[in-house]
């Protein structure tokens, strides 16, 4: 005669049909194209156009993929000495004292065709695009994390590219493809003003983060868990990493990212953030 342990074992067998990282294409398809109700936008006085769930899911998936640990690292820009990083358990993993070797496929970084003009952030979107594209092209393969499967828009091919600036102060994830491409960067130490926590955010508000989602720049992230996975490859100063229509250039003065399709982007360092 079966007992409760057999019942729980039966539940476990059913439950095992859904792997930990499974993202249902059925659900993805059903949610694709959903838009916020006009009433919700009106109540908030939101200036942005109606936001699709697909775009938001892409962003949320990106955050989920990167939401592993919280890192507290050194300053970006003129301080290359990492302070250390702390994971969610309070442990302090060691960081390399010097930048790690270039990833596979990364060309020499000494060729910088468009050096930073005295550390000043680009004045216009066109300047930003020229500047970012002027960095030394870097092969994305060295920055990709994990794998993905066809039919899983939430983890679209070719996967997620993550990088850390040499100072360790900025960690970014570039993900998605075509219209869902996005980049999210977390700035660990900063002195610039940040947006306040929205009343609708009951999770962790990461005020210092910057993203390009659906071609637009947004500041702050509301997410569960703690950001970010610090185990990503250093993008050497002077290098530009491309992912779809997105490009990010790492420089000692500031990090800059732009969506070449929409011409929106941002530049950020510890003291300043500028959006385009």
């Amino acid at each position: 005669m079966p007992d409760l342990s057999d019942l729980w074992a039966a539940f476990a067998r059913l439950e095992a049909e859904i792997p930990d990282d499974y993202r249902s294409p059925v659900i993805q398809d059903r949610l694709a194209g959903l838009r916020e109700p006009a009433s919700a936008r009106g109540r908030r006085g939101c200036t942005r156009n109606s936001r699709t769930v697909t775009a938001a899911l892409s962003a949320a998936a990106a955050v989920a993929a990167l939401t592993v640990m919280v890192t507290v690292m050194g300053d970006h820009a003129d301080d290359r000495t990492p302070i250390g990083n702390h994971n969610a358990t309070g442990q302090v993993p060691s960081l390399p004292a010097s930048p790690p070797p270039s990833p596979v496929g990364t060309p020499p970084t000494s060729v910088i065709t468009h050096p930073a003009p005295n550390g000043a952030m680009p004045a216009t979107a066109s300047d930003l695009i020229d500047y970012v594209q002027g960095g030394a092209p870097t092969a994305e393969v060295g920055y990709q994390q994990g794998s993905s499967q066809a039919g899983q828009p939430m983890r679209p091919r070719p996967g997620i590219a993550e990088f850390t600036t040499p100072s360790g102060n900025i960690v970014c994830g570039m993900m998605g493809a075509a219209s869902t491409v996005s980049v999210t960067c977390l700035v660990i130490q900063h002195t610039y003003p940040t947006p306040p926590t929205p009343s609708s955010c009951h999770l962790n508000w990461v005020a210092s983060s910057l993203s390009i989602l659906s071609g637009e720049v947004s500041r702050g992230l509301c997410l569960g868990g703690e950001p970010f996975d610090p185990i990503s490859t250093v993008l050497p100063y002077g290098s530009t990493l491309r992912h779809g229509s997105l490009a990010c250039r790492s420089e000692s003065a500031f990090l800059s990212c732009v969506d070449l399709a929409t011409r929106h982007g941002f530049a950020v360092n510890r003291a300043e953030v500028r959006t385009y």
């Binding site: 007992d3 039966a10 989920a64």
Partner: protein
């Protein structure tokens, strides 16, 4: 202020796996589970303001899922009786334990939907009889009755039952 779509997407990203697992345990069919969860998420998005302000939004969505399962199953059962899916297998001595679990799965599929929902909420989700009753919108006495009958139908040794309500 946080956009509805962002908040909803964050919820989906965080809870999709748990919802799917709950649904597959509830209905016993992965494909149906995906249909149920996608239906419910669309409904939840349409009323996200209510869901987001609920004390326990996951419990709110779970309640939507159970209710959808019960009503959806009613329609589905007319087209595709659960019992037809079960294939009797020859049982070797070596496979006795697995066969017993297969029989248990088959038994679960044969249970009336409300009995199954009660058993899943109580023994899988770990809800008390009061919480289960609240989820299903019925009285605790009804839950206890479903539990008793469901366990009897599954021929589960009721004497070993723990008392999660205590």
């Amino acid at each position: 202020m946080r956009l509805t779509a962002d908040d909803f997407a964050a919820y989906v990203a965080a809870h999709q796996t748990a919802l799917l697992r709950f649904a597959v345990v509830l209905c016993g069919d992965r494909h149906l589970a995906e249909e149920l969860v996608s239906d419910v998420l669309v409904k939840a998005f349409e009323r996200w303001t209510d869901v987001a302000t609920a004390d326990h939004r996951h419990a709110y969505v779970r309640r939507m899922l159970v209710n959808h399962y019960i009503s959806w199953q009613r329609k589905w059962a007319r087209q595709r009786p659960y019992g037809d899916e079960i294939v009797d297998c020859a049982v070797s001595d070596r496979a006795h334990e697995l066969a017993e679990r297969d029989a248990l799965l088959a038994g679960l599929r044969r249970l009336p939907r409300q009995q199954r929902a009660v058993i899943v909420l109580h023994f899988y989700e770990g809800l008390s009889t009061d919480e289960t009753a609240e989820t299903l919108g019925c009285r605790p006495g009804t839950v206890r009755s479903h539990l008793s009958r469901g366990l009897a139908a599954l021929r589960i040794d009721y004497t070993q039952r723990e008392a999660p309500d205590a």
